[in-house]
Symmetry: D2
Subunit: 262 residues, 4 copies
């Protein structure tokens, strides 16, 4: 029609080829969401598993996702370096990931919490963003950043809610923790509540990793021939997605999985 010219005002943003794309989604206003639907404090295992199921399903749907990491109300998805999903169009990626995680979260929520039906004035929603990293070292540091963040928040929250459950007001608990170091919190937990933080569940301390897993072959080379690369892609597609709660800060996790960066 004579009005079609208005489509020329649309802009496109193509993410730089051959960089690793990370897409992070984060629950919008989950502070309020978690209190409205009575999440357990500091961690609601069931709610975390809703998030994990949603992320896993998304990963199963999109084979270009080679690994994912999540904790709290957020998840980060790593696309392969050569990934051409939506021709790397940023707006399609962002909107699709935001929409899909939302759809799965609501779906799994209704499966897991039939007794807590979602109400229209507070449905779970997510923002999304893309980030490009040119090297694998940066990708590793990205995921380390998220896991360190998980650790810091969880140590804080665990101590905070222990104090509150023992009778302090939230304000008092907050004041008590101002300026404390990591070691101080460990000590409070141990001395005052008999909690050895190291024995806390790994899923809370480390978050959740989903990773497409291959048998480790020391020779999974980075510089593959074209044919080897295609074979690897095929293997990856059929590979099992493993769920882990392990350390991803040390090198070991990465050194054992060269295919993440192939």
């Amino acid at each position: 029609s004579r009005y079609e010219y208005v489509k020329n005002f649309e802009r496109e943003s193509i993410l730089l080829p051959e960089t690793y794309i990370v897409i992070r989604v984060d629950g919008r206003g989950f502070h309020k969401f978690s209190s409205k639907y009575d999440f357990e404090k500091p961690n609601d295992l069931c709610a975390l598993e809703v998030m994990n199921s949603a992320a896993l399903k998304l990963m199963e749907t999109i084979p270009n996702i080679i690994m994912a990491y999540g904790d709290s109300d957020e998840y980060s998805f790593l696309l392969q370096r050569r990934c051409d999903l939506f021709e790397r169009r940023e707006f399609k990626l962002i909107s699709t990931f935001a929409s899909t995680i939302t759809a799965y979260y609501q779906y799994y929520w209704s499966q897991s919490f039939p007794e807590k039906p979602l109400q229209p004035d507070r449905l779970p929603t997510f923002d999304a963003r893309t980030v490009c990293y040119p090297t694998k070292e940066l990708v590793k540091d990205y995921f380390r950043w998220r896991q360190v963040d998980c650790h810091i928040n969880n140590l804080y929250n665990t101590t905070f809610w222990s104090l509150v459950k023992s009778g302090l007001t939230t304000q008092e608990a907050e004041n008590r923790l101002i300026g404390t170091l990591s070691s101080d919190k460990h000590e409070i937990l141990f001395k005052e509540f008999g909690i050895n933080y190291n024995n806390e569940p790994e899923i809370y301390k480390k978050g959740t990793i989903f990773v497409r897993e291959l048998d480790f072959e020391s020779d999974v080379n980075i510089d593959l021939s074209k044919r080897q690369a295609q074979r690897l892609q095929k293997k990856l597609k059929k590979s099992e997605i493993k769920k882990l709660h392990c350390d991803i800060i040390k090198d070991e996790f990465w050194d054992c999985r060269p295919w993440l960066f192939s």
Copy 2:
């Protein structure tokens, strides 16, 4: 942490101030979605109303949306020219709209179609994009574009499915319509099926408009004083959102609503 530097790789895109922002969402793969959940052809009124409810709810939640237009699996939302929602950050806008429309669609679907529970392998999802228009004439042409598109598709689909219901295969119906003009389709409908297209339901022919409605005051000026502008904003917030299926191609709709561009 020492890993926080990776956040510096995030980019921001701020939409040009003082332009009208339109955000369009569109169902992903609704061809398959509509056939999986047995939509009526060519139009499933109930499904359209799920979409309408989702869009209305989104508009109620975000007061910056001054009007919306939708048909089929898509909706366009118009933000006010001075709107500062998310500081006009494009990625927040895109991801939030994609996520929120998804959440509401699924919610209203489960209310409207208890007999058609959504299945995890085909949940409704949406992409989203922003477009900026510097003038109100362009904004009008944008919405005209969408309504003309609605009209063209609906006339085609109505004729196509009439032919198919009368016994043609889909391939035969398609062939029959190749090269036909608008007037030819009107004639087929009338002569062969006794359908006067003009009497078809307005919602199918024109789509759905949601608009924040004020009493028409011929003097709603474009150049308001600061205080008048604030008063107008207040009025708009309290105003009723009206649902219409009227023509938005002619000037009348726009001339009666100067506040859309204030």
Copy 3:
């Protein structure tokens, strides 16, 4: 060749259609440049005219420029709203304007200052940037901003160098002026140096405007028919470029020249 794929890494940025594009160039390190080539203080008329000649020549070369404003080491060029120069590609616009102003400046310098040959370790260079404005009010405010800036700087510099020429060190002069208002500077100039600032040359106080000039016809409408618009474009191409040092803050300048925004 097999290496051509690397061209896919190039990005394009297209400026939003139907917005007014302003391109501003600014001399790089002209503090040092002006002292190296012994500019008169606070204003070197000859050097300013080199800048003006360069800007005028650029404007003559590119008919899409409808007006320009400059002072000190900077110039701003206004493109017409519908302008399609380089298909509105930002990088071409930026690099071409930066390059062309550089070429003309050096050329006119060598004509105007044969006794001050440019030396390779300090050639005049310029940065450039584009800004898009959706409305003509914003465009006016843009140029007002630059002229107010010119005024503020010139009043300061005139007072500063009067003080210095009267014997103060630059540090003393700076201290003397800290916290002074516009009126204080007027007074210093008048009382201590017998200078009535209002009688200073207009080119210093107001900067320089180049504008494509038409006979004023009160009826130069904004909403022209297509044919009228083409006729106007033709007229503009043949029109004379006028050089002014007048006020562009008040409405008069703009009200008399509706064609700037046609």
Copy 4:
């Protein structure tokens, strides 16, 4: 001033950190420029050396440029991966490179061609663009692309102008070369003009490389400690810039210079 708000309409584009930035400048309309100033055909050594001098001077001025490659009217500059020049702001980079190469070209032209003074209606100007490459392999392929292009053009031009000088019209020469392979052109040159293309000057066949040169130490490692990296940077700053006309398609050039990617 109250008008300063218009500055908020400026946009910034920051190039992705830790990618290799290449900036390519290219003469605008050098087809006409070269004929106006009577360049020798197909190659004007003196004009090429003006270009080379301008590029070298630019490289000397900006220590972040680790190598440059040029032929015909273009030059490509490679910035170091960690380079923070202008905080990686794209518009500053583009405009500064376009402006600086223009200034130097004009300057060296007037030194080299006192008998061909530049005329204001055809001054040499340049466009500029940035491209980011995430890996060193891509950077190598980028420069290979330019050198292959140089070779293809030069072989064509050499044959074309030989034909023209022998009496063909330009149209006839063009027709003669349509569909010819590289080997055909070699043969034409040899059989018809006694020219062994391989003996043509290297500067025409290979273009010009400027590279910051270190003594080759096989152990210039990619993964340097912070202190080693700083020492390397210092060395590079003091290092000599070498001018070469060698092959950069084969690996040898790159393998000998690991510091290009450190």
